[in-house]
């Protein structure tokens, strides 16, 4: 296994993980409507990245799963949403929300750094297909990071000062 395939493999794992986490957070905070809806949209981007990484990976001898990870089961979603509704009138889940947004941000940052590495190795090895993949996916990862950062900036003053 060379550096390129190693990076592809790690990135594939990272995007799959982020897609799952975004969906989990969307369910867990279904009473935080903006987080709920946008996290689902952003999960769609990571799911697409997983698929493209798997397709590209074949050329590097990798057998990566094209399916974007399992979406949370209906039962699990229902349980998380019910739990969110049950505590929707309380301020404490605000802390959990901030922690979840922080984790999403760090997951996305990790992916972003691997996309950076992939773009660099693509240039070093003059691999235009790989460079194309990184250039087209990396901006969305940066947008995921900017979103979590913005959400934390906007809601943390209220959530932390009201405890």
């Amino acid at each position: 296994m060379n550096g390129t395939s190693l990076t592809l493999r790690v990135l594939h794992h990272g995007e799959r993980h982020l897609a799952e986490e975004l969906l989990t957070v969307a369910d867990r905070h279904s009473t935080e409507h903006e987080v709920h809806h946008v996290a689902k949209d952003l999960a769609g981007w990571s799911r697409e990245h997983v698929e493209r990484l798997a397709v590209t990976g074949r050329a590097y001898g990798l057998e990566l799963d094209e399916s974007p990870g399992k979406p949370p089961s209906g039962l699990l979603t229902m349980m998380r949403e019910k739990a969110a509704q049950a505590v929707g009138h309380r301020p404490e889940p605000g802390l959990l929300l901030l922690r979840d947004l922080r984790d999403l941000h760090l997951d996305a940052a990790e992916n972003s750094l691997y996309w950076e590495m992939l773009a660099q190795v693509a240039q070093a090895s003059k691999d235009s297909r790989l460079l194309e993949l990184a250039s087209s996916c990396h901006p969305r990862t940066l947008r995921q990071m900017r979103w979590t950062n913005t959400m934390i900036k906007n809601i943390s003053p209220q959530l932390l000062s009201s405890l």
């Binding site: 949209d41 947008r143 003053p157 009201s162």
Partner: protein
């Protein structure tokens, strides 16, 4: 020429045709109370319409201290004497016997009458207690789009610098926040680029999600007059309903609800593919063209046809009409603003104008519209989630400048995060961090999405709710303190319409009982709270409307919405005047951006922009590198799938909207006999194909349901797009035995029982147009008809047997035109 017209049966009245580049002829509409003649009117008091955003100037007729009618102001640039049905009749609601005349406070679970000092003391005590125990973030203010400029400005100062809270927003969030956001995204700053006068000069007028005939009927009269005159414009209409606009359009596109971005990207694709672009303009005044061109490269008409479910040839045809325009005017409203990807779609319409160089010239302009009469002022004055005067909350110099105007320390004004938007304020109230919500002039218990949730928040024990209104609305019934307010015609102030025209509205009559102007209520609160500036002087030194206006002028000085050239004296007697208006140029400004883009420079812009999909802030560094010279920004957007698409369980797309005869939650129009009779109850519109497939017919009682709730109404079968249902959002519960919400005997009646809590990530405007819904038959009509009007977009198909909507003798309005002008314009 004089004629008497039933303006319920004919909402737009008679025609005064005129030719392109001609002057729109005058037509003065007058309606007086039964038995009152013009000679008996003792005073005519200057005002403008408060029931939509058009700003129709009118005089209020007064006799023996009572309002007895209205007459359009011939001298005014906006309407040249014309009035719409709501303008003509709704003044009667001021004298309704059920006006609030005394403050109410909740005592042992019931609202009981009290005096002003008791009510105000209760509010002040709760405010002080919360400030001490929980800080300024525990207090929020939710206002409206129907107060006056002086009132919003006073509210903005007392909330942001007095209390020091970031939680102040208007119900303008529901109607106009996408317009503001789209302008900020494209031009770096809010401010309507175009002018209504562009209707006189355009050869193509495109209406995107804008049922102009019913939302601003007087400007529709203007378009009708041009359609009847020489060299008429061609219309392009995007709307799922068979509106009057759609019926007169050269091209009518009825896309699947929620697919505006796909459609617009295809229109941009066609425009660029055929090189119908102004390269010189793009080079001189914009950044981002390459990215836009790349984004829409694959968005062919065929691709969009599949997404939007409209024929590709119609998309191509629309693009040809738009691309072939010599002077293109576009108007945009709720079909875009309250739908999926609202800001992204509205921005693509700005893009169309920017790449075609269709801006800043007579007939070439964009009107990102408002829904409400004074929404523009909510935005300018900083009562709509922005700082006053379009100042940038992320720019420390802008905040310091505002602090200088208010004579407070910059840190007094919260600017660590964007001003909190209404939907987030309700979330904070739900979650318990906002403990006091002061609601002025709006009725969220009917107008916000997912009403069962809103009722539960407002009626919660821990939230102290103050409601300031004219009537005991659904929301007021849930309040802890209710303050009776004076309204239009009972107080003096100014307000600004959707094309930046400022009007003065003078007091004509005394308010009923102890009702007080909203300005007086805010000033009273500020005095009782003893808000001080940094030198220990009163924070709010003004005492009446005119001194409040003068204070606002100082705040607006040098800003895009500069009012310094205006005064009550200048506004009294003549026409309304468009800002910016300075002492050097007291006639005002017809169009913005006539000579390049003026407020997009990184140091001057109101906002650094957002990601149109995620709503994430871009920040000053990125803004500076993208747009160092302050040009217009062409921002591309990808189409995203709907958040709530129809499913097997919920097969319909439910879209909500208004009718020409009502405003908002009918607090006034429901108390106006002519208007109420024209559309007395809620209805449900369905397409002919869907009705036939389900064996449903006109007048059947149906239930519309979503995961959030349901409502019942009688069915109207129309030329609506297949797969779509339409329900008007005006109807609530104040005029039912239930009071403020459905109960065991009164089923759901408000459209918002069903709508989803979701908003555009960039503008934070809720989505009222995209809920998935079911439809079930409750009982067959058995000869009953739907209460929907026949004169509007709810017109039934041919042979329906539905009696035509008429107003009868009480709805007759005198229309006076100058014979010479109407003859001249009639030549084709």
């Amino acid at each position: 020429m004089e004629e008497s017209v039933d303006r319920i049966a004919e909402p737009w009245g008679g025609r005064t045709p005129y030719a392109r580049h001609g002057a729109w002829p005058t037509r003065v509409d007058t309606h007086l109370a039964e038995g009152v003649t013009e000679e008996e009117v003792q005073r005519w008091v200057q005002s403008a319409s408060i029931l939509h955003s058009d700003g129709d100037a009118m005089d209020i007729a007064v006799k023996d201290g009572r309002m007895v009618g209205v007459r359009g102001r011939a001298v005014d640039r906006v309407n040249r004497g014309r009035l719409g049905p709501k303008d003509l009749f709704a003044w009667q609601a001021n004298a309704s016997p059920d006006r609030l005349t005394r403050p109410l406070v909740r005592q042992d679970g019931r609202l009981v009458e009290t005096d002003w000092p008791t009510a105000m003391d209760r509010i002040v005590a709760r405010s002080r207690e919360l400030l001490e125990e929980r800080g300024p973030g525990s207090i929020g203010f939710y206002t409206t789009g129907q107060l006056f400029l002086e009132e919003y400005y006073t509210l903005a100062v007392l909330a942001r610098a007095g209390i020091g809270t970031n939680h102040l927003d208007g119900n303008t969030r529901l109607c106009t926040s996408t317009a503001a956001e789209a302008l900020k995204e494209s031009f770096g700053c809010d401010g309507q680029p175009g002018s209504y006068d562009d209707i006189d000069h355009a050869d193509v007028i495109a209406l995107f999600g804008h049922n102009l005939a019913e939302t601003q009927p007087v400007q529709w009269m203007r378009i009708l007059d041009r359609l009847e005159g020489a060299d008429p414009p061609r219309l392009v209409c995007v709307d799922p309903r068979p509106t009057r606009v759609a019926r007169r359009a050269t091209v009518h596109l009825a896309p699947r609800v929620g697919t505006n971005v796909a459609l617009l990207n295809a229109l941009l694709h066609e425009t660029i593919r055929h090189d119908r672009v102004d390269h010189e303009y793009i080079e001189a005044h914009t950044v981002g063209f390459e990215e836009l061109a790349a984004r829409v490269k694959d968005c062919t008409a065929e691709w969009a046809a599949a997404v939007c479910d409209v024929p590709a040839r119609l998309i191509v045809e629309a693009a040809e009409v738009l691309g072939g325009a010599d002077r293109l005017l576009s108007t945009v409203l709720q079909g875009v603003y309250q739908s999926h990807q609202a800001t992204a779609a509205a921005v693509q319409i700005n893009n169309l104008h920017l790449i075609r160089g269709m801006l800043g010239r007579p007939g070439a302009g964009v009107l990102q519209m408002n829904g409400q009469p004074t929404a523009q002022n909510t935005r300018e004055c900083g009562a709509n989630g922005d700082l006053p005067g379009f100042r940038n909350w992320e720019n420390d110099e802008h905040v310091a400048d505002l602090a200088r105007v208010w004579n407070v320390e910059p840190a007094t004004i919260p600017h660590y995060a964007p001003p909190t938007h209404a939907m987030q304020m309700f979330r904070y109230a739900e979650q318990g961090s906002i403990r006091m919500l002061w609601i002025s002039g709006t009725n969220p218990a009917v107008s916000l999405p997912e009403l069962s949730r809103i009722r539960s928040i407002l009626s919660g024990e821990r939230l102290f709710v103050v409601v300031q209104d004219l009537f005991l609305t659904e929301t007021a019934q849930l309040a802890d303190v209710v303050l009776p307010a004076a309204t239009w015609g009972e107080k003096t102030g100014t307000f600004t319409n959707a094309d930046r025209t400022v009007h003065l509205s003078d007091k004509a009559v005394e308010p009923p009982g102890e009702a007080r102007p909203d300005l007086d209520i805010f000033l009273d609160y500020a005095a009782r709270m003893d808000f001080r500036d940094k030198d220990g002087d009163p924070l709010i030194p003004w005492r009446d409307p005119e001194s409040a206006f003068e204070a606002w002028k100082r705040c607006s000085a040098g800003r895009p919405c500069d009012y310094t050239g205006l005064s009550y004296g200048l506004l009294r007697g003549g026409s309304g005047i468009q800002w910016p208006c300075t002492e050097d140029d007291p006639s005002g400004t017809a169009r913005l951006y006539t000579d390049g883009i003026s407020w997009a420079h990184p140091d001057r812009c109101e906002a650094y922009g957002k990601d149109l999909v995620t709503g994430a802030s871009s920040g000053v560094v990125e803004y500076r590198s993208l747009n160092p010279d302050g040009k217009a920004m062409l921002k591309a957007a990808e189409f995203m799938p709907l958040h709530e698409a129809p499913s097997e369980e919920y097969p319909f797309q439910l879209t909500t909207g208004r009718t020409v005869y009502h405003f908002h939650t009918r607090t006034k129009t429901g108390r106006t006999p002519q208007l109420n009779a024209a559309a007395p109850d809620v209805w449900v519109e369905i397409s002919e194909a869907d009705a036939a497939a389900r064996d449903l017919a006109e007048g059947d009682l149906v239930e519309v349901g979503s995961p959030r709730g349901s409502l019942r109404g009688r069915l109207r079968v129309t030329g609506l797009r297949r797969g779509t249902l339409f329900v008007p959002f005006h109807y609530g519960y104040w005029d039912t035995p239930a009071g403020f919400g459905p109960n065991a005997t009164v089923p759901g009646r408000a459209a918002n029982e069903t709508t989803v809590t979701d908003w555009d990530a960039a503008s934070k405007q809720p989505l009222f147009k995209t809920a998935a819904a079911t439809l079930t038959l409750v009982e067959k009509g058995g000869g009953q008809h739907s209460p929907a009007p026949t004169t509007t977009a709810s017109e039934p198909g041919p042979d329906s047997g539905v009696p035509a909507t008429e107003g009868g003798p009480d709805a007759r309005v005198r229309q006076s035109t100058d014979d010479a002008t109407s003859r001249e314009g009639g030549r084709r």
